[in-house]
Amino acid sequence: MEITIFIILLPLLSFVFLGLAGKWLSHRAAGLFGTAVLGVVTILSYYTAYTYFTAPRLADGTFATLVPYNFQWLPLFLGAMKFNLGVLLDPISVMMLIVISTVSLMVHIYSFGYMHGERGFQRYYAFLSLFTMSMLGLVVATNIFQMYLFWELVGVSSYLLIGFYFTKAPAVAASKKAFIVTRFADLGFLIGILIYGFYVGTFDFVGPNTSAAVGGAKMIPLALGLMFIGGAGKSAMFPLHIWLPDAMEGPTPVSALIHAATMVVAGVYLVARMFPLFIAFAPNVLHIVAYVAAFTAFYAAAVAIAQTDIKRVLAFSTISQIGFMLVALGVCTSVEPEAGGLGYMAAMFHLFTHAMFKACLFLCAGCIIEQVHSNEMEMMGGMRKYMPITHIAFLFSCLAISGIPPFSGFFSKDEILSACFAFNPIMGWIMTAIAAMTAFYMFRLYYGIFWGKENIEHHTAHKPHEAPATMTIPLIILSVITFFFGWTVSFGHFISPNGKSFDSHLETSVAITSVVIAVLSILIARTMYRNEKQVLADSLQKRFKGLWTAAHHRFYIDEVYQFVTHRIIFGCVSRPIAWFDRHVVDGFFNFLAWSTNALSYQIRGFQSGEIQQYTYVFLIGTLLLILLLIL
């Protein structure tokens, strides 16, 4: 398993090479180099996963936790505490390796067509490699501090990629917003890590039964809660979600990779990583996570219904789906999958399937946007005639996200809903309702793009056509995974909260309810948005005008932030501080400079440069000395 170190080193090498030498490479060479390196990384990840999951289990039925690499990077001042870097393999990190390398490879191939002829093509591939390296390093972190290091690195690469079109003002603003919002959240993460390190005595992930964990038991809930703030920032939980919709200013493949499939699930991964401690010491914090996530899922679904920008709809659906995953983690009450621990496996399962179908949706959106040169739904309509492959891939992914069997999303969502019902029926029904909303807005999007009212004028001017093969092949691969993954892979066999294999089975009642509700929502969406004339939709929009406008403006959360930051923080705190700095602090130093200047002006006569004057002084001095000696 020593080979796993190359999974991290190769993308780093690719980043350094493309970053330094990219200027002298042709677009083709740079793209091929980046993609080839990622291909090798993907093969290594699959090989790692294969050897890891086919290796014999330990005596207690769990997979061994392997640490092929762990070297001391920095000794810290607190004696035993040290900062290690290494590779940790356990079921969830191996699963994440597969997710990240697969989606990243798809995005690398896709970008070859999507970014064709774009300025800064080499830079784009360099940043993609940087991101892949950081994300892989994050998931295989052997300790929480390494996780934090790579956590910040993914933040940086996200910033760089959102602001890829740095000549466009909205992209620059969006990248700044993403960076600042997540940085604020990461402050909580850092404090949580420090509390954890101080009271537990190590940055390593300790089991709940170790003496270190028991020693720090009093402070672990606080530490975990603060860590979740960091996770909420990255995973765009309410109220820290505001950066994600704006992040759609980046190139669409970047949205697929970073803002749908991998980076935004880092928060979910963090909670899953700390799961044993959550269960043992802080079940209440875990339930708070569930409530926050459930609210976020509802809020994002409501907003998604009223968006017209297709990438925004997908962004809000991502927020909503991450909410689902965190709800699944949050409703866990034990590490036994049969008794309240199902959610852990459900969350990881949904993470996997969501990464595939959401990446596929974003890549489809990229194909469409490239053809119509707009993100607005009204510029589309009737696209099924022009882009059949994209149409089918999009439909598959929509069915998956809506939870229609046999697509993968059905299986993972069903596990989540079962876990919620097992926790509390109210939670179960709420999540079922949100799942129905999901089906509705996804099919509103689907019918809006591929059916509905066609923008004939626009389409005659620029006749859309199917995307090139480099872009459709990733779509096909992702749709195939979406179609087959749910019913061919027994996920609980690999990943379960206590590490032992268990057979997840469908809860018939939950499955039937959710499918029926999803189908109903799809039918409603179909009646409302399929036809040329959308009478029902228009009249509903008119009747609930206030609600629609509020949802369209994301319930004014951004405006609230704007008000709080600009009016309250800038106005009442920053301005007085700035005044104090400018007038009092600067004034003091200006006074010092001024007084020195004035004094020097007064005494500059001494340095006349006239030699006779100097000799007078010299003579007087000598006479005085003689006088002194005589006396």
Binding site: G609, E610, I611, Q612, T615, Y616, L619
Partner: protein, 102 residues
């Protein structure tokens, strides 16, 4: 026998004249002459003290000879500097030499 006081009066007058000249004249050449006057005043003192106070020794004479040789060298350098200054600013007035002041 002329008293030692008489010699010393002469050398004191020479020294004061040198100092006065150095302070009052603005011409570099005149200042150099003043410096030489002061040096010669001390040379006289060396010779006189040796002759009248320690007639068995030779140190005073030799010191005077050294001093004369060194002042000759110094004068050569000083005049070389003055010639250069004159070539540059066409004057050897000390208050005109301000090019390197700032």
């Amino acid at each position: 026998m002329i008293s030692i006081i008489c010699y010393l009066i002469v050398s004191t007058i020479m020294l004061c004249a040198g100092i006065y000249g150095f302070f009052t004249r603005h011409n570099l050449l005149a200042m150099l002459i003043s410096v030489e006057l002061m040096l010669n005043a001390t040379d006289i003192n060396f010779a006189v003290f040796n002759r009248l106070l320690y007639p068995n020794g030779q140190e005073g004479y030799f010191f005077a000879l050294f001093s004369i040789a060194i002042s000759a060298a110094e004068t050569a350098i000083a005049i070389a500097i003055m010639i250069n200054i004159y070539r540059n600013i066409r004057s050897i007035q000390v208050d005109k030499i301000n090019k390197m002041k700032w």
